[in-house]
């Protein structure tokens, strides 16, 4: 199981449809401050089913929709699709490639798809269960959050070890 590519449109600062191909080894994302690097990490966390607006650095879930610039109007929806190679069938469904899609409208309405067929958020959570990749574990570490392991109290540190076991 590995990430093949990510398609982002209308999510945060991605006003135009953008596609990112990932390598099997190390893919590095570089660029000036405020140019949209952490928004890519947020897009991955969101499409995998993140439900907390705060951990997406927003106030509510519609804050992820492109809110316009001095030259462009705000958009009406945000959509992200994550394409995953599943030839080792680690994701509990019988496809060689799995495309997970999430969409949210200004109205607050959300839509979820697995390989283009509509599903619920719960189905996306279940898809990633037991694969070792979780939004709260050690597979996505947001900016400035590496120190949380050290700075938290012993009883709060448990979570990252539980995720692994």
């Amino acid at each position: 199981m590995y990430l093949k590519s990510l398609e982002i449109q209308g999510f945060k600062s991605f006003a135009e449809k953008t596609n990112i191909e990932f390598g099997k080894g190390i893919t590095a994302v570089v660029g000036p401050n405020g140019s949209g690097k952490s928004n890519i990490a947020d897009a991955i966390r969101w499409v995998m089913g993140e439900q907390s607006a705060k951990s997406l650095r927003g106030g509510n879930m519609q804050d992820v929709i492109f809110s316009g610039t001095q030259k462009r109007k705000p958009l009406g929806f945000a959509e992200v699709t994550l394409y995953i190679d599943n030839s080792d069938k680690k994701l509990g469904i019988d496809y060689d490639e799995v495309a997970v899609t999430r969409r949210v409208f200004r109205s607050g309405e959300s839509e979820y798809f697995i390989n283009k067929s509509a599903c619920r958020l719960k189905d996306i959570h279940e898809l990633f269960m037991d694969t070792g990749v979780g939004r709260d574990g050690y597979s996505i570490i947001g900016q400035g959050r590496i120190d949380e392991i050290i700075n938290s109290k012993p009883e709060d540190r448990r979570q990252i070890f539980e995720e692994a076991a």
């Binding site: 190390i26 590095a28 660029g31 001095q70 050690y138 900016q143 120190d147 392991i149 009883e155 070890f161």
Partner: protein, 160 residues
């Protein structure tokens, strides 16, 4: 569930001591359960001793040393339970150049079992990457992406 957790914890702890010594160039480190009898709710304490120094409480470590300890724990867990992919956003920001290269070497070692997507400003990490993307806002407020090679980065940084 209980035995599984204790067994995994033991392996992560062994890995932590080994990874710590490799990242710090010596010294030792260990994890312990605050209540070993009550495994399902116990907290976790961290003890480290950088090479040549006395045993330290975490608070006395420097900013960079604390980040390096967290990175050592991350790799110790990844070694015990490899994750198919891992997204890291500037986790090496507090490291000096030498430790950044040590971190990058570790990343390369682990990239055989896990896929990494890393956001970074550091040269050491960029040099370890197989694929490099530059993000820019040529149109203000709108992100666009371009594929780069490491020589572009030098020019890009100065042109931005």
């Amino acid at each position: 569930m209980k035995e599984r957790f204790v067994e995994k914890f033991r392996i992560i702890n062994e890995n932590f001591n080994q990874v710590f010594a490799e990242l710090f160039g010596g010294g030792r480190a260990s994890l312990a359960l605050t209540e070993p009898d009550d495994v399902l709710t116990s907290g976790v304490t961290i003890e480290v001793q950088p090479p040549g120094k006395a045993l330290k409480s975490l608070l006395q470590l420097s900013g960079g040393e604390q980040a390096l300890v967290s990175i050592a724990i991350l790799f110790a867990i990844l070694k015990a339970c490899p994750s198919p992919f891992c997204i890291l956003d500037e986790i090496e920001a507090a490291l000096d150049d030498l430790n950044t290269y040590r971190f990058a070497d570790y990343l390369k070692k682990f990239a055989k079992d896990s896929q990494f997507v890393v956001v970074t400003h550091r040269r050491g990490t960029m040099e370890a990457a197989n694929i490099l993307y530059g993000v820019t806002m040529q149109e203000q407020g709108v992100t666009s992406l371009l594929s780069l090679n490491i020589d572009d980065v030098e020019r890009e940084a100065m042109l931005a």
